[in-house]
């Protein structure tokens, strides 16, 4: 029996593994949620304006910027996106030291997450904004909108469902990147899985963390999809609201 358990759950006795889980699990879940949320917020603080500039600053955009500047911006974003996250984390260590005076711990792990995901977010935002209808932007221009008003009142609100879908994708990507931060001494479920589950042969812990990560991703994705659909008024769906509307019309007719 012990042998069978050994094959599935590693060499450490199951009771010991369970005791360890009980002690460490909540803290590690919190660290994962904390670093994912914070990294996502900072990634958008940087990535959202960059994404907007990528669209509006084009030669035929609503506020063209010098071509050279746009080329540099695109180049930097592409470079940051081509470095594998594992390597980027190590490259960013001096930056973490500069900002936080340390390069280990959960907070320090947020910095490489932001550096890696801000350019990704910029591309996601760019994609969402490019979908917006050129005719509507032209109409806004004809109505005397300033470029800033077009961004704030037309481009962003019209692309909101798509931006929310992008936010969902970004959050999930940041969550999975965050699982790698064990490498540089960050906390979270990833660290628990690698340091204990894998390196200390506590396979049960490995399985539990993976299942928890799956559940987290499912939750984020379904919230994201629901919110995006709820906010989208382009498609008339058979939602209760639409049905009521139809009934109203039938009543009038």
């Amino acid at each position: 029996m012990d042998e069978l358990f050994g094959t599935f759950f590693g060499n450490t006795p199951v009771s010991q593994q369970l005791a360890y889980l009980q002690a460490a699990l909540l803290e590690n879940i919190w660290e994962t949620v904390y670093s994912t949320v914070l990294a996502t917020v900072f990634a958008y603080v940087i990535g959202l304006p960059l994404g907007i500039i990528l669209v509006t600053g084009e030669p035929d955009g609503i506020r063209p910027l010098p071509r050279g500047l746009m080329r540099v911006l695109n180049f930097v974003i592409n470079i940051l996106r081509s470095i594998p996250f594992l390597i980027l984390m190590i490259l960013v260590i001096p930056l973490s030291r500069l900002i936080l005076h340390t390069s280990i711990g959960t907070n320090a792990a947020i910095i490489p997450l932001v550096v890696a995901s801000a350019p990704f977010v910029a591309r996601l935002v760019e994609g969402s904004l490019r979908e917006s209808d050129a005719g509507v932007i032209e109409a806004a221009k004809a109505m005397g909108c300033t470029p800033f008003q077009i961004v704030r009142k037309v481009m962003l609100p019209e692309a909101l469902p798509s931006l929310i879908t992008g936010l969902t994708t970004a959050t999930i990507t940041i969550l999975s990147y965050g699982a790698m931060s064990a490498t540089i001494g960050g906390g979270g479920l990833g660290t628990l899985a690698i340091n204990n589950g894998y390196q200390r042969r506590m396979d049960l812990i490995l399985y539990v963390t993976v299942i928890l990560l799956i559940i987290l991703v499912q939750i984020i994705q379904s919230i994201g999809t629901r919110v995006a659909n709820r906010l989208d008024h382009r498609i008339t769906k058979a939602t209760p609201k639409a049905k009521r509307h139809k009934a109203d019309k039938a009543g009038i007719g």
């Binding site: 005397g144 009142k153 382009r234 008339t236």
Partner: protein, 334 residues
């Protein structure tokens, strides 16, 4: 008053410059409903976009109420644009806003207080006949309703000028007529100058007072609708007024036409009217008509004079009669 002075627009392309507009001179008076007509690719849309400088002309001046838009600094131009409303073929409503919020949009930009904006928006909804659509989203509306909301939104900026860029081209004939009536009504009630871009002469006929004919970026002729319709002077004008291919050479070869009466009143003397109203003296070559309870049925062969302009006039006149169809007879050997 809108004055377009020597407007040219050149688009640089990979295979050389494309001259979309060539030295256009046009004056549109206050309160006019001015049609700019041409086939697709004639440069109509570029021209109308030059009026509010969505397209900046390569050369020339756009003068509105004696102020040159091209010379204005950006900020002033943005303010000026708020008095020039525009509606589009594809409506271009904000899909994530309710109709009421769409109509509020121009007022929001101009800094009108929210409560006041909403109150005025409801008045505009009344004007366009959709008072119950305030909280509906554009996706829930038909094409005609969307264009009505777009018109309400256009009115919300309290414009002096309304530009209509193929505003009815995506709509069915009945909805087109309703929308055109609404535009005409707005023009008469509020005194807004209307510029209508279209490829359909029927639209011009329905609402315009003046018309300009544009072909390959060149202004062919301009005048009152009556002048252009009764006597188009240019080839492009004739093509638009008589779209069913009244080509001069064909007319010379076959100036015999067959008309069919499909039950119009037989008390309207067609041939006499043709002579008196159009000055065209037609020769009856043959006829087979009968009078059924005061309605005319049957066909008639007419020989028309050799003058192509007279033939075109006669064709247009006969076509405009109810219950009469007309066709050219090419193989007549009298």
């Amino acid at each position: 008053m809108i004055e377009l002075k020597h407007i040219s627009k050149v688009f640089p392309t990979a295979d050389g410059d494309l001259r979309a507009l060539n030295d256009i001179n046009l004056t549109i008076g206050d309160g006019d409903v001015f049609g700019i007509v041409g086939m697709s690719g004639a440069g109509k849309s570029t021209l109308v976009r030059c009026i509010n400088l969505l397209e900046r002309p390569t050369q020339g001046q756009v003068v509105i109420d004696s102020r040159d838009l091209c010379a204005m600094p950006e900020k002033e131009l943005i303010r000026q644009r708020r008095s020039i409303a525009m509606i589009f073929q594809q409506f271009n409503l904000l899909m994530q806003r309710t109709c009421l919020k769409n109509i509020c949009f121009p007022m929001e930009i101009a800094g009108v207080k929210r409560a006041e904006a909403e109150q005025r928006a409801r008045e505009y909804l009344d004007i366009v006949g959709l008072p119950d659509k305030a909280d509906a989203y554009p996706a829930q509306l038909s094409g005609g309703q969307k264009q009505r909301i777009a018109i309400a939104r256009a009115l919300a900026s309290d414009p002096k000028i309304l530009l209509c860029d193929e505003a009815t081209s995506a709509l069915d004939p009945k909805t087109t007529r309703d929308i055109l009536r609404l535009v005409k009504d707005i023009n008469q009630r509020l005194g807004i100058t209307v510029v209508v871009i279209t490829h359909e002469m029927a639209v011009v006929e329905e609402i315009c007072s003046h018309v300009a004919i544009l072909d390959h970026g060149v202004l062919q002729e301009t005048g009152t609708v009556e002048e252009i319709f009764s006597n188009p002077k240019t080839e492009a004008g004739r093509r638009l007024v008589y779209p069913d291919g009244v080509i001069l050479d064909q007319l010379r070869a076959a100036n015999v036409i067959r008309i069919a009466f499909n039950g119009g009143t037989s008390y309207d003397p067609l041939i006499a009217s043709l002579a008196i109203d159009c000055g065209v003296k037609a020769n009856i070559l043959g006829a087979d008509t009968r009078n059924v309870n005061g309605q005319a049925f049957g066909t008639m062969l007419l020989g028309l004079p050799d003058d192509p302009e007279q033939i075109a006039k006669a064709m247009h006149y006969i076509k405009s009669q109810p219950n009469i169809t007309v066709e050219e007879v090419r193989d007549y050997h009298g």
